[in-house]
């Protein structure tokens, strides 16, 4: 049991070796070169904001600022501020942003991490996936699995191969039975209405764990209920899917991209649904980002955006298994 304010035995040395720090510095140098060469503007947006994330699965750090400062949250993603820039200036923008997410700790999770986030005006999801591949080649292309061409799979096809059904036809109970048939444990606490939670566990347990370690894998066609900030589209089977992709290296999730939703009314509706879900679960309720919604109302050009975890990218490229080995001071050491 950790007592608040209790400081563990001082671990003053860094987790990363000097050569690893040189490697990560080189990756950042190459990232900058890549965006310079492809005409994207490097930007810096605030880390502190009075607005916060709406997504129930993401918990922000509250800075406990005084009343005079106003309540401020540490950003969990720079996406809202960056999209305001895209709306205003219509330019491709990128940044390397420290982001903070509470309660995400493990070998592949650190509460503070470095997100490489960028937006391309006029690009759709497929073009952005090619852009991601080009960035990977330019930054870590010598290192497996980034020395091989990526494969792209669809979320729906993967689930159908596994269960015989499209994700939207599954229920928590049918997923529970599938776990039982395969002698894997499924949490008793997942309720009938938590289909997305059950799908997340199904996908991670049986699909992601089988991804090739030899090449990157893009996953497309997420269920509409997991669209987040992506627009909806219709796939070749006539199913409604989110225009969203995830990039994996083996079973390590590296990036998440969207063909951005530009409809302000729909975005407000999604925010309201997510805030209601947060309220219901007793989660903190940061202010809704009205400035972002105003930018959408003004008009966000057609664009796609992606966030890539740079610490994890280095971890995979160096064939390390924990973020601690590639960060100067991970959570264990701060």
């Amino acid at each position: 049991m950790t007592v608040p304010g209790d400081s563990p035995a001082a671990e003053w040395q860094p987790g990363a070796s000097l050569s690893t720090l040189e490697f990560t510095a080189d990756v950042r140098r190459r990232v900058r070169r890549y965006f310079d060469a492809t005409g994207s503007l490097e930007v810096v947006t605030p880390v502190l904001s009075c607005a916060g994330p709406s997504e129930p699965a993401i918990e922000p750090f509250d800075t406990r600022a005084t009343a005079a400062d106003g309540r401020r949250w540490l950003q969990t993603s720079p996406e809202f501020a960056m999209k305001r820039l895209v709306a205003c200036y219509g330019r491709d923008v990128w940044q390397l942003a420290p982001v903070f997410r509470r309660a995400e700790q493990g070998q592949r999770h650190n509460r503070e991490f470095l997100l490489l986030e960028w937006y391309r005006v006029g690009q759709d999801m497929d073009e952005l996936m090619q852009d991601v591949s080009a960035l990977l080649r330019a930054t870590v292309g010598e290192h497996p699995p980034f020395d091989r061409a990526s494969v792209t799979v669809s979320y729906g096809d993967c689930v159908r191969q596994l269960t015989g059904q499209w994700p939207e036809a599954l229920t928590v109970e049918s997923i529970r039975s599938l776990f039982a048939a395969r002698q894997r444990h499924f949490p008793e606490s997942i309720q009938a209405q938590e289909l997305d939670t059950a799908l997340d566990l199904l996908f991670d347990t049986f699909v992601v764990s089988a991804f090739s370690a030899d090449c990157p894998t893009f996953v497309t066609g997420y269920p509409p209920s997991q669209a987040s900030l992506a627009r909806l589209a219709v796939d070749t089977h006539g199913r409604s899917v989110a225009s969203r992709f995830e990039l994996y290296a083996g079973e390590v999730e590296l990036a998440n991209g969207f063909h951005e939703l530009v409809d302000a009314a729909e975005q407000r509706q999604r925010f309201e649904d997510e805030y209601a879900e947060r309220a219901e679960a007793g989660q903190v309720l940061p202010a809704m980002d009205e400035a972002f919604l105003a930018a959408l109302e003004f008009g966000l050009p057609e664009c796609s955006g992606v966030a890539l975890g740079l610490d994890r990218l280095a971890m995979v490229a160096l064939a390390e298994t924990s973020l601690d080995a590639v960060m100067s001071f991970s959570d264990e050491r701060t």
Binding site: E104, T197, L201
Partner: protein, 188 residues
Amino acid sequence: MANYSTNEFKGGLKIMLDGDPHSIISNEFVKPGKGQAFTRTKVRNLKTGRVVERTFKSNESVESADVIDTQMQYLYSDGEHWHFMDPATFEQLQADATAMGDAKLWLMGEETCEVTLYNGEPLAVTPPNFVELAISETDPGVRGDTATGGTKPAHFETGAVVKVPLFIEEGEKIRIDTRNGEYVSRVK
């Protein structure tokens, strides 16, 4: 009884699952960037020794198990129970054959053992890694044969049977590794 949240999970933590005490062997935080977080664990049932996978939604809480490991001295067996004493308080406890498991094969008296207590009752007994026992019965030694590497069974008063080199004699004391039940050396 205290509860542990999944973010307090770590190796060695003792928790109650399905009414039995379990020990966490390993735990992994799993979370897709846009999705629900889980904690995937491997746990050992401390009653049966079985290792199983258990997955929890993050922030679920689990009841802690009142399980502690204590160092106790083995005293004697009455055939049905094995008696231990806490060297600090002189308090005595008795463990049954289930709790003893294989430990009963290696104990003659006075060995310090790790006794795992669940609700104050012995749940498992771990003998010292090495014990020294006198052979009560084995085939006659083959004099001078220290090179062929052959073995023969040696029987002990405790019921244990250990493979020993051919030159070992009945009545000799030998050192045994209790973790694999193998002969280590002669004791002079």
